[in-house]
Subunit: 240 residues, 2 copies
């Protein structure tokens, strides 16, 4: 039996305002909760609708009814496990390797896919502009599938960050030099822009090089979705 | 003033059953409608909430009120233009170039992104298994941004199609040979699998080669999202 206040608190964490206020966020689904439990993130509470779940000590789980789970969950069809975790401080950035920076990526699905790509391609640090969607947004976490436990994502004033950086800064533009011909260094910063407007003027002014993915065949008016473009650029950075 | 029956018909096209019954589908938004009007697709009707829109002859547009547009639209915030188009017959497939085949891709956002990728990388033919999500699904069209006008997407029994194909068939597997080391031919079929289960056993049996995208650094339990993986494979096929 969960007290009403607890349900209210968990539900409130669907909103960024309350996540920041309480310093907590919600992870749903056995697989994702299990990954967060095995990571540096500190669990505040794990709720489950049945006992034998995950590889968890049953004493660490608080059993709840299906109705209570529904009241806490942000999903239409809630999972059997929901974890509340503490938002952790970001780690210092290692400038030896590649860093991904996002200039106002707004779509939660795109950010989730990008975090998953960082995980796949071993990009440890993701630097987000202050208007990039919150990485603890439930829809982002839904799309990351636990990858956020292996990627150090932080929010900062992107202009100041880039202005101070002493490594090459690459920005993706339709009109940039081909990523196929550009000899990429072992480390640097790759900036991806907003879904509708791309990279803003202020950030553009701080770039070392503008790069692009060549379109094959006839040019159309279309661009690639930011998550698709990130997939290709990270693949180009990491391919042998 | 639109008659009630028209509104009801347009609204019904949100569902696959009625799209197939009437042989029509709906496109929303000025940019997408404009691309479909400039394509081989035949327009049935274009509704707009104001006159001077697109590069269209005003006599081709049926003016509607905002309320009527809301009743016809599948979106929470309807656009000012909505077009009804006829589903066209698929074109014969050209086996000289690469063909993308989908084995039960179910998520509309993924299919939309994949169609957009085909457009970018000049993949003319997209062969979908019968349980792949409908390419005229409004959420797919929302994600394709008009790219469907340049990609010949069709639905078929994927096993029979592959069994008859006389070109190499590549399937994407976590355990396949690295796409970086595999010398890819000028043409062939690339099969991408279902979001949860990958490529099914029956299709797997018909493959010439299994290929994979190498994960960088430590292996994790994660895989790449099917749209991200498609981006990387198509880039590998087309890169110089």
């Amino acid at each position: 039996m969960v007290v009403k206040n607890q349900i209210k608190l968990v539900k409130s964490l669907q909103q960024k305002k309350y996540r920041n206020q309480h310093g907590m966020f919600v992870v749903e689904g056995a697989k994702s909760v299990s990954e967060f439990l095995g990571s540096d993130y500190k669990a505040e509470k794990v709720y489950a609708t049945k006992e034998n779940i995950l590889d968890l000590d049953p004493s660490d789980i608080e059993l709840v009814s299906h109705k209570e789970m529904e009241q806490m969950s942000g999903l239409h069809s809630p999972n059997s496990v929901l974890g509340v975790f503490q938002i952790s401080a970001t780690k210092p950035i290692d400038f030896e390797d590649w860093i991904l920076a996002l200039d106002d990526v707004r779509d939660p699905g795109n950010l989730g896919t990008i975090i998953r790509l960082c995980d796949w391609y071993g990009i440890k640090h993701l630097v987000c502009s202050e208007h990039t969607v919150d990485c603890y947004n439930p829809k982002v976490l839904q799309a990351t599938m636990g990858s956020l436990t292996r990627v150090n994502a932080g929010y900062t004033d992107l202009e100041s960050f880039l202005a101070k950086a002493e490594v090459p800064v690459y920005g993706t533009f339709m009109t940039g030099v081909s990523v196929y011909s550009e000899k990429l260094p072992k480390g640097g910063i790759l900036v991806m822009g907003n879904e509708a407007n791309g990279i803003c003027k202020q950030v553009e002014a701080l770039l070392t090089t503008k790069i692009s993915i060549p379109q094959y065949g006839n040019q159309t008016t279309e661009s690639l979705n930011v998550a698709s473009a990130t997939a290709v650029f990270l693949n180009e950075i990491r391919r042998i």
